[in-house]
């Protein structure tokens, strides 16, 4: 029984488990009173409470944490692309020796695997991941800028080899495939901006290992994309899942909203053309089953435009909620009310009582002022989380001058008792 209840507690966030797990399990055991059925009921109730606790913790995260998540996700994808490029270089280089390679492709050429550009790109990509995962912001930002510079150089053709831009390693077989450096430039820009805005924290090693495994999986998925004619082939499903999550839970989990919007923006040049166009076969018979870009699909276009319009609206709503502009305005009005209601000669303020809401505080203060007692109220910092489904609210503290305290209590107590 204890095992089942302890297992149910795993639905709670880790820090909560560390603090409360024993107490929760022992209480549940007392409630279950030895009954197997009641134990199952208690276990289920713990799972539900744990999920709610996680959602609640998620809703309190800032948009900036979402930017950190976006930077992390894009850094992993970037690393996956770098790894895939090198892996593909290995696959492309099938000659028994470099000498034969040079004989075949010419004296100035070399396999991709030893191309210093790919190595620099992979090092920059790995440095971003390392910097973000270990909390080295300077390293992450520097590497992200270097990464952007490398991709930009490639996109602008500054460093061309005989085979063309390096991202065209995926187009060894025909020139319409993913990813070209131009398409990767926007993700590199979004990655640099997100890394600059993020506040990286040191990740625990198991989570870092899991992230690197994810990058490895993406790299493995990237390899078949060389055979798909349309853009970010390997990222279609992960991206679709993340964007779907962002739309579904973005309102309660700001991090997911930022992640979904950021990834959509980054993927626009690569993914959107793929979705916007219908499936067409490649003219070359060997690749006749491979989807190629074609005419615009109007339904997909409408969905994409709607998504792009809704994303900023959702983010603006979340930003406004988190900045809580109304509470700032309320704070200013309290200061103004203080300056009006409280003469400068008042030596000290004392807390008289608590009010349940601003309306109630106004009523109480109005009554006190009618009786010639200066009064002000201020929201305590303890009430916000008590409001179910709301980010604001909670008790307000009512202040009067110390000399008026006795008179104010006499006026207030009958009101509170009688209602």
């Amino acid at each position: 029984m204890r095992g089942l209840l302890a297992f149910s507690c795993r639905s709670f966030p880790g820090d909560h488990r560390a603090r409360r797990s024993d107490e929760v399990v022992d209480t549940a055991l007392l409630v279950a009173d030895g009954s197997g059925l009641r134990t199952v009921r208690e276990a289920l109730s713990l799972v539900v409470a744990g999920v709610w606790q996680r959602l609640r913790a998620e809703s309190q995260r800032s948009l900036r944490e979402g930017v950190g998540l976006l930077a992390g996700a894009l850094a992993l994808v970037n690393l996956a692309v770098a790894l895939a490029g090198i892996l593909f270089g290995f696959r492309a280089y099938v000659g028994p020796s470099l000498y034969i390679w040079k004989l075949w492709y010419g004296p100035g050429s070399y396999p991709y695997v030893i191309d210093p550009w790919w190595i620099a790109f992979a090092v920059a990509a790995a440095a971003i991941v390392f910097g973000l995962a270990r909390g080295h912001r300077g390293l992450a930002v520097g590497a992200a800028i270097a990464n952007l510079a490398l991709v930009a150089c490639d996109a602008r053709g500054v460093y061309n080899t005989d085979a063309g831009p390096h991202f065209n390693v995926f187009i060894l077989w025909w020139p319409s495939s993913y990813p070209t450096a131009g398409k990767w430039l926007v993700p590199a820009i979004v990655l640099a901006v997100a890394t600059l805005a993020a506040r990286p924290r040191r990740l625990p090693l198991p989570r870092l290992a899991l992230s690197l495994a994810g990058a490895g999986l993406l790299a493995w998925l990237a390899l078949p994309s060389q055979r798909a004619g349309g853009a970010f082939f390997f990222l279609r499903w992960p991206l679709a899942a993340i964007i779907l999550l962002g739309v579904a839970f973005g309102a309660i989990a700001p991090r997911l909203a930022v992640l979904a919007c950021g990834l959509t923006l980054a993927a626009l040049p690569g993914v959107i053309p793929y979705y916007l166009t219908g499936l067409h076969t490649h003219p070359h018979s060997e690749y006749s089953t491979i989807p190629q870009t074609g005419s615009l699909d109007p339904i997909v276009l409408v969905v994409v435009v709607a998504g792009l319009a809704l994303g900023p609206i959702l983010l603006a709503q979340l930003a406004r909620r988190q900045l809580d502009l109304t509470s700032v305005a309320r704070g200013l009005s309290v200061v103004a009310a203080n300056s009006r209601a409280m003469p400068s000669s008042v030596p000290a303020l004392a807390a008289l009582t608590m009010a349940r809401s601003e309306a109630e505080a106004e009523v109480l203060c109005g009554m006190l002022r009618t009786n010639g007692i200066a009064c002000a109220h201020q929201q305590t910092n303890v009430g916000a989380a008590a409001v179910v489904g709301s980010a604001r609210g909670g008790p307000l503290e009512i202040f009067v001058s110390a000399e008026d305290m006795r008179r104010a209590r006499k006026l207030l107590v009958p009101e509170q008792i009688d209602g």
Binding site: L30, V31, R41, S45, A49, A385
Partner: protein, 105 residues
């Protein structure tokens, strides 16, 4: 501030003094004549919210008879919030009672 029925009885259970988790469940059931039967998940979900919002204070963890527990105490803010909620419920009940009484007459 919206206080749910279960949360209301959790606060009400603490009116007479500090209680630990299981004590709150039993007291809430007594006060509500058995109508409110809190599960452990509901109780600790409510307690987490109440502690975060400063309406309830959690004591130090202690071990009694091999069981870990913690005492919870109603704060001044919790007392005020509960009183305000009771007042609001009384007003709401009065609205209905007056009309029902008029209809009966």
């Amino acid at each position: 501030m919206e206080i749910r029925r279960s949360t209301y009885f959790v606060l009400a259970a603490l009116l007479d003094g500090p209680l630990h988790g299981y004590g709150i469940i039993k007291r809430a059931a007594e006060l509500s004549d058995g109508e409110v039967r809190l599960s452990t998940g509901t109780l600790f979900g409510a307690l987490d919210r109440l502690v975060d919002s400063g309406l309830v204070e959690a004591g130090e963890e202690e071990k009694v008879d091999g069981r870990v527990r913690r005492a919870y105490t109603l704060t001044h803010a919790g007392h005020a919030a509960l009183a305000a909620e009771a007042k609001s419920l009384r007003r709401a009940a009065r609205v209905v009672e007056v009309r029902v009484a008029k209809e009966a007459i």
